[in-house]
Symmetry: C2
Subunit: 688 residues, 2 copies
């Protein structure tokens, strides 16, 4: 309905003018930088191919979905998942293109576990015969599967899982049974409403050869189980299954609970590539080599870091663009009738956003490095060499912890830097934040898994103290690092790193400090035999320090060896590197100071250095986020739009798209009626 | 429907057994501590009176509300608001009891601004005649009002508001007009759908006495405006108004946008207690004394800090109880078949939760102190003495910033410490978090307002450096603090505070460090004339340091002078104080070290001290949160239930209360049908 607001425009200067000025004022080669960041892995090409197809389908329109109820969000997710699969068929998308489409739609698919952990587990853990039977059904989505490991009472500690799979030699069946309520499967995505099959992880209970009628547990094993009828889609008798209810995010995903009451499955249900049970006797055959599983975990974690960099780039894109448009207050030292400044000019806004912009780049280069290491390690493993596996696994633990924490906290820091509109639906950060906050917990809790990193570092340190490794083939980057810095630390020599002037010295300072922490933890645990539990906080600090050191090192190495960027652009990236390293160092300066990795004099100068770097990066902030090429469709953000039409978009969402504005209410408290001429209180009561 | 899960119980030890053991193992006098914390202000008595009435009304049941759509949440909120008012009438609740009821229902009321800012503004800014006309209508809810100040383009900078109120001398009317889109009112609670009246803040434009036909702005002024028809509840012609759409939290609140197109209101609409416009000539009469407004702001902020303490206590209650019930992993140094430990026994869990438990107490004592200062200052102001106002205002700015940041971050820290279930709806923290994250921005952005605190401290420091104030009556706590520590700092004397052994020395160390930062900022701004903008980050650090010092000081003073607590309980609180101070100090240790407020030797020992204090507090953690007496109804948390029946509650919410489980779907992607025998894709499409 037309009204007088149709002709109103925002106050000057407009958002488009502000962003045009930002873009004109920088020498950064945006397209070069985009190609450098995202060209090699093909994301840009996939985005270009997939995005127009998605934009042409109204079902993928996002802007009003925040108004829907939880059950509606799930149904929408299911409809979208179906449509994406049809589009994938129609346009012959590769699996990567299908994945890019999911990424752009950004509403976790109820089919996600089917496409991920379910098929992956079959590929990796099923015998050849099992693969031949199941994979065609899975790939054609004739069956839909999920992955059910976590239970109501146990997540991190997989060995503590309670669900039992007892082998009945008489019938040659496994009997799945949940002895307690806490044995209920819990959190298992895709299973709550969508799947008809699942990988079910249960304690394998086999007849005890030494005691007739008794059973021995052989630990958790995976079984493939049909859980719902293919026609009615109802669970079988003996299985109770459902969706666990609303969560912080992931409204479109049906996370499940599931319990079994002496439910029988055939002998063939046990995935038997690595371990197997004799059909006749129930005797157990041990896995030949199970370390490969760690390879998968590492791969998942390297994907998490790759994802973290895009998540953070997205939040920073919104924050940088909006704070370049939004003006508030005049310069207090200038004339009182001067122009209001873009808030990104204030150091108190810069200090929250620009280090995070730098962090997105840091995450990028480490994700690349992880990917390279993963590929080479994978090849080694296939050739039977497991030397690098422990290194890769321990590094990926610490990095998963640090990188997801940085991204999760970073989204919220960006949101708060947006002022009041950051709390509104037009920020585009609400669902991102709500969904992403699962990441510090999944695939290994961010505090718990740092023990794995620390344990590895302590082991390596013990070897370094004892005089290094004899086996040169097992030498990794940690051995090199410890070999370089341990003599300095044990000699208590004051190191004259010039962290203000020499980029390489920033790297040295980080490596020095991580090595020093590793040495201290080694002394506490190995030499002084302190209890493991009492050192957990130190383990966490050590893992963080080492992971920060990796981020700084990989960033530095990537820029040092770079050949493809124009010099001006590379120089700007060097400032971005310096900001990341300097800001991170300043936050931990006491540790750097006490271990001799930075002098007090240099630390005193560091805040001014950070200010100076931010001032140098400020003119390139908008082009630096533009280079990540996050499409407006993915951002779904009035504040972060490429064209800067912030206020028009916010107003449009409110005035033209908000369904609540179709409701005229009765505010009189002495009357039951809520909607004028419509609903009374009973319609609401029925929903509770 | 009964099924085999009905007879299942959680694995042993049960939640109730675990919590019973925790409660039996502590000597803390829970009820004494409750009375000490919440007895004086009457919260416990109000809770006891109001809670049973609320529990008897099904409309206030919370557990399934997370499933509702945004429009449903608003309607539910409206129905609840009506019912609460009727219950208030029926049971003759005081305003405080009505407020307690709102607090327990914990779903922001669409009537909130009517009961708050609307009536407050009339009381404070309306003339006697205006009061006599409006207050009876407001108190009987015959009209419903809102408060419309913030605009689409301006929040923090009130002077930048664009809406105009031009006085037409000919008709004796003000003409409200929005010249741009950014002049739209925005965020104004209660106004989007509910209110029929509003306080509208607009630039007062009066005829320029020196130039015929021209107008001069006299800055923002408040007007009372009827915006909707009392019968149809539709906005008048010339007004466009609506709800701005979904937000991060506050689903039940209708935040508004509103624009005016040359809309005329009578001369009597200008609230004219302080300033007025001559009806005939349009001449302006300046306000007599407007500083009182700052008193209100300070009062609002002291309420925010009181609220922050309860918010944090609530999050910590959930975290402590659940981590005392949840068991995961055995002690790595013990036998591998040992019992799994409650996760609260791990220092990596303690370090996230116990300092926040201590913070809730710290916030409590500072809120009390603020309340006392507010009351005495209020009395002084009424006697015409404005000496304390600037002090109170500046302290309340810094404390609002620090305390809401601590509470907002604290909720999320607690949530992440809950493992996977922290991401689930049963945590009880999701809505708390989503709603509370508005607090770091409202009533003054947490970064921006620290400038006010710093400006005051710099002014005081300049006076201290110049030799103190001549006017003893204007001396406040800051003068005393600067007078004590400035000589030490200027003399660069090494202070031998024993922060490990003497509680008072912790206080000294914090005051020393805040004074030192104030002195450095004074040197930079006043002596070296550095630009204001370049010092903003230092202002923020200074404000934080001073506010931390206040929290530590008030906590210490409260325990030192305490007479009502049993000695054992008071001793436990002393440990809580020590943990708060030590943990806070450790996080900022570089600042303490470089200004001489803590020695390197003592700082080295601090992590072990924190560990030791946590171990000492650990046995009392459950009773310490019990003492806050947060009712299960308010918690609405399976994880944080008083009785520890965590897993039964989680399962009940999923299996018996989740509406999504009534839906059986069709997962075949080649078919449109979503719900078996029901909805197809079109039902979903229509909602987008």
């Amino acid at each position: 309905m037309p009204d007088f607001t149709d002709t109103l425009r925002p106050a000057q200067p407009s958002g488009p003018d502000s962003l045009a000025k930002e873009r004109a004022g920088s020498t950064l080669a945006i397209d070069h930088l985009s190609a450098h960041l995202l060209g090699t892995d093909g994301l840009l090409a996939r985005q270009s191919k997939v995005l127009p197809i998605i934009l042409s389908e109204p079902l993928f329109s996002k802007t009003t979905q925040q108004n829907l109820s939880r059950p509606e969000r799930y149904k929408l997710g299911l409809a979208r998942g179906k449509l994406l699969r049809r589009l994938a068929d129609k346009h012959a998308w590769t699996p990567e293109e299908h994945e890019t489409a999911e990424y752009l739609v950004d509403d976790v698919s109820p089919y996600m576990l089917h496409m991920g952990m379910f098929v992956t587990t079959i590929r990796e853990q099923a015998s050849d015969a099992q693969r031949a039977y199941w994979l065609p059904l899975i790939e054609e989505w004739k069956i839909i599967g999920a992955y059910a490991q976590t239970e109501l009472g146990h997540g991190s500690n997989v060995r503590g899982l309670e669900l039992q799979a007892r082998y009945d030699v008489g019938t040659r069946e496994f009997v799945l049974h949940s002895p307690t309520l806490t044995a209920s499967k819990w959190w298992n995505g895709t299973l709550g409403r969508t799947a008809n099959h699942a990988i079910v992880v249960a304690q394998l209970m086999l007849p005890d050869p030494n005691a007739q009628g008794k059973y021995v547990s052989h630990g958790p094993h995976p079984f493939i189980v049909q859980v719902r009828d293919m026609k009615t889609h109802l669970p079988f008798k003996g299985i109770v299954i459902g969706d666990i209810g609303p969560k912080y995010g992931y409204a479109s995903m049906d996370n499940a609970y599931m319990l079994f009451n002496n439910f029988r499955i055939p002998h063939s249900a046990l995935l038997s590539r690595y371990s197997s049970v004799d059909r006749e006797t129930g005797a157990y055959a041990k896995p030949k080599e199970s370390a490969v599983v760690y390879g998968t975990l590492t791969f998942m974690r390297s994907k998490i870091i790759q994802h973290a960099r895009l998540v953070l780039a997205r939040a920073v894109t919104v924050a940088v663009r909006y704070t370049a448009v939004r003006r508030q207050f005049v310069d207090r030292d200038g004339p009182s009738n001067g122009p209001e400044l873009p808030v990104l000019d204030y150091p108190t806004v810069q200090i929250r956003i620009l280090p995070l912009l730098a962090t997105a780049f840091a995450l990028h280069y480490t994700a690349l490095a992880m990917h390279t290491i993963y590929n080479s390690t994978r090849k080694e493993i296939e050739a039977g060499n497991f030397n690098s596996l422990a290194y890769m696994h321990s590094m990926s633990s610490g990095l998963k912890s640090l990188c997801t924490t940085l991204a999760a906290d970073g989204i919220e820091t960006c949101r708060r830097a947006l002022g009041g509109h950051g709390f509104g639906g037009g920020s585009g950060l609400i669902q991102l934040n709500n969904d992403y906050l699962s990441k510090p917990t999944v695939e290994g809790d961010n505090w718990m898994i740092t023990q794995q990193t620390a344990a590895y570092l302590v082991k390596k340190m013990a070897r370094a103290v004892a005089g290094g490794t004899a086996d040169a083939s097992a030498t990794d980057e940690i051995d090199v690092q410890f070999g370089t810095y341990l003599p300095l630390i044990r000699g208590a020599r004051q190191c004259e790193y010039d962290i203000l002037a020499r980029d390489k010295d920033l790297v040295k300072s980080f490596q020095h400090r991580a090595t020093s922490l590793a040495y201290n933890v080694y002394l506490a645990r190995i030499v002084n035999k302190k209890p493991w539990t009492s050192l957990m906080i130190d383990f966490h600090k050590l893992s963080k320090a080492q992971s920060q050191s990796i981020l700084v090192t990989k960033f530095h190495d990537a820029l040092s060896s770079n050949k493809d960027l124009p010099p001006t652009t590379r120089n700007i990236l060097w400032d971005v590197f310096r900001l990341f390293a300097s800001y991170t160092l300043e936050a931990e300066r006491y540790e750097f100071f006490t271990c001799g990795a930075a002098s007090r004099k240099q630390l005193e100068a560091l805040p001014a250095r950070v200010l100076e770097l931010m001032a140098r990066i400020r003119p390139h902030a908008v082009p630096l986020v533009d280079a990540w090429k996050i499409p407006d469709y993915l951002l779904d953000s009035a504040l972060g739009r490429y064209d800067g039409r912030v206020y028009e978009d916010l107003f449009n969402r409110a005035h033209r798209l908000n369904p609540l504005n179709k409701v005229t209410v009765n505010p009189n408290y002495w009357e039951d009626e809520i909607v004028k001429g419509g609903e009374d209180i009973d319609a609401i009561r029925a929903k509770l």
